[in-house]
């Protein structure tokens, strides 16, 4: 039986795994879990992953969550080209160093800008910048600066001459704020050059296909508000439950 992949391309970690599967021609069955529809809360999905998060893979009886560990597992099992997750200890450590830092160093900051600029204005019904959006953009700018100064520096890719899991995981996060109309790499020639390089290495067609949903976030939300307004209410409750 082919590998089963549970995901939603609106989610950054889902995109990195999807790109890796497709780019390496790993056969898989795509089981879409539509986050805007709340499908991650279904009883069936909860049995698979009690944490109700995507992506998840199911390889026979082996179930695995967490995109970073899924990517490493796939690289190992399918013996993908070395540059993705190098066998050389120090080069691998460099890739790991980025993959570990980004959980708290870039992912939350990019997600927050997407949330505050892309989702909250629509869901709350008040267009225009939401509270905290400016600070969120400033924090993301600082994260991007750290990415540049510490991890990419003036190399073509994070691990050196070739693309690796580090670039893949970075790029999907840095695309997310575009769903809220914010380009985190705007104004940086070296970083936009890196983005182009990564797009080319992945393949433009695959890259654009995978990023279609997030770039069309506003249209998706519009469509939901027309066809299933109760879902917007549910999203509102979820987003604002934390309180002020």
């Amino acid at each position: 039986m082919a590998l089963q992949y549970y995901g939603d391309l609106n989610s950054q970690p889902c995109r990195s795994v999807y790109i890796f599967l497709k780019k390496n021609n790993i056969p898989f069955e795509f089981k879409e879990v539509r986050l805007f529809m709340g499908e991650q809360y279904s009883e069936q999905f909860q049995k698979l992953n009690p944490l109700r998060k995507v992506p998840v893979i199911k390889d026979g009886d082996f179930v695995l969550s967490e995109s970073v560990s899924i990517l490493k597992y796939l690289a190992g099992k399918y013996q993908t080209p070395d540059h993705w997750y190098p066998g050389d200890l120090q080069r691998r450590a460099r890739v790991n160093e980025y993959l570990d830092w980004q959980h708290s160093g870039l992912r939350p900051q990019a997600s927050r800008v997407f949330l505050l600029k892309g989702m909250v204005p629509f869901i709350s019904g008040s267009p225009g910048p939401s509270a905290g959006a400016m600070e969120a953009v400033e924090e993301l700018t600082q994260s991007v600066e750290k990415f540049h100064q510490k991890f990419l520096q003036d190399k073509p890719y994070v691990a050196g001459a070739d693309i690796s899991l580090a670039d893949l995981v970075a790029i999907v996060e840095l695309m997310q704020p575009l769903g809220g109309g914010h380009d985190p790499l705007d104004g940086s020639a070296p970083l936009t050059a890196w983005r182009e390089r990564v797009k080319k290495a992945i393949g433009r067609e695959l890259f654009d296909e995978v990023h279609g949903p997030v770039l069309n976030t506003q249209q998706s939300l519009e469509s939901i508000s027309q066809k299933q307004p109760e879902l917007l209410d549910a999203m509102k409750k979820m987003l604002f439950k934390g309180g002020k």
């Binding site: 944490l51 560990s69 490493k72 450590a93 160093e97 708290s104 100064q149």
Partner: protein, 226 residues
């Protein structure tokens, strides 16, 4: 090789990820030189340390010229490079993936929420001189409790250790994070017998290094008791 320098580890015992790296080094007997960096004195902002790590964070290791940050990457590097027992970071693909799964999840979950409680209860009042913000602390404790529920049902389940039958890098990372709130004399595990049993299992296995490395946290706790 005569020119080979011993591994250097830059750390502060106040920092949970530093403690995990030190516990691992001490448990496995990997020869190393300890270079303390006093965070409360701002030593991580010195020109010398900034040259080593522009992010001004600990832990950092230097292995014969190779500089590496990020405790999870460091632990994986050490477990792979040195001749340590297999169970820490198993070679078997499935078992290793389960350890990677925990180490990825914990950044935004166990680490984030346990650290927040400590920051609100100990660090911020200490640095600002202001009393603890009770509302924020209550909220952080509630979120930590949810995270501990997830830890029990998703990872520990009915296993002896977080990632399976044997101790792994995941367990030492987790235990160092969960010890942090103790610095305010707060035992976050006391009403959770499964996690208490797990903690005792890990402590017993680690042995002496556990208490050595947590001496700073115990001192903070004793001060808080007064």
């Amino acid at each position: 090789m005569a020119s080979r320098l011993p591994l250097r580890v830059y750390y502060d015992l106040l920092s949970q990820p530093c403690r995990a790296v030190l516990i691992f080094l001490k448990c496995t007997g990997i020869p190393h030189v300890e270079k303390p960096v006093a965070l409360r004195k701002g030593e991580q902002t010195s020109a010398e340390f900034t040259k080593l790590n522009p992010m001004q964070k600990v832990p950092v290791i230097v292995d014969n010229g190779f500089v590496l940050t990020e405790s999870v990457a460091i632990l994986k590097y050490l477990a792979t490079k040195y001749d340590v027992p297999q169970f820490w970071y198993p070679a078997d693909l499935h078992k290793r993936a389960k350890v990677d799964e925990y180490m990825a999840w914990q950044h935004a979950n166990v680490r984030f929420h346990a650290a927040k409680v400590f920051i609100l209860e100990v660090l911020m009042p200490h640095m600002s001189g202001q009393p603890v913000n009770k509302d924020k602390l209550d909220k952080a404790l509630a979120e930590l409790s949810i995270t501990l529920d997830k830890l029990e049902c998703m990872y520990l389940k009915n296993q002896p250790f977080l990632c399976g039958e044997e101790i792994t890098l995941g367990d030492i990372l987790a235990i160092c994070e969960l010890m942090q709130p103790l610095g305010a004399n707060r035992d976050i595990l006391k009403d959770r017998p499964k996690l208490v049993a797990w903690k005792d299992r890990v402590k017993t296995f680690v042995g002496k290094p556990f208490d050595e490395v947590h001496s700073f946290v115990f001192n903070l706790r004793d001060k808080a008791k007064l």
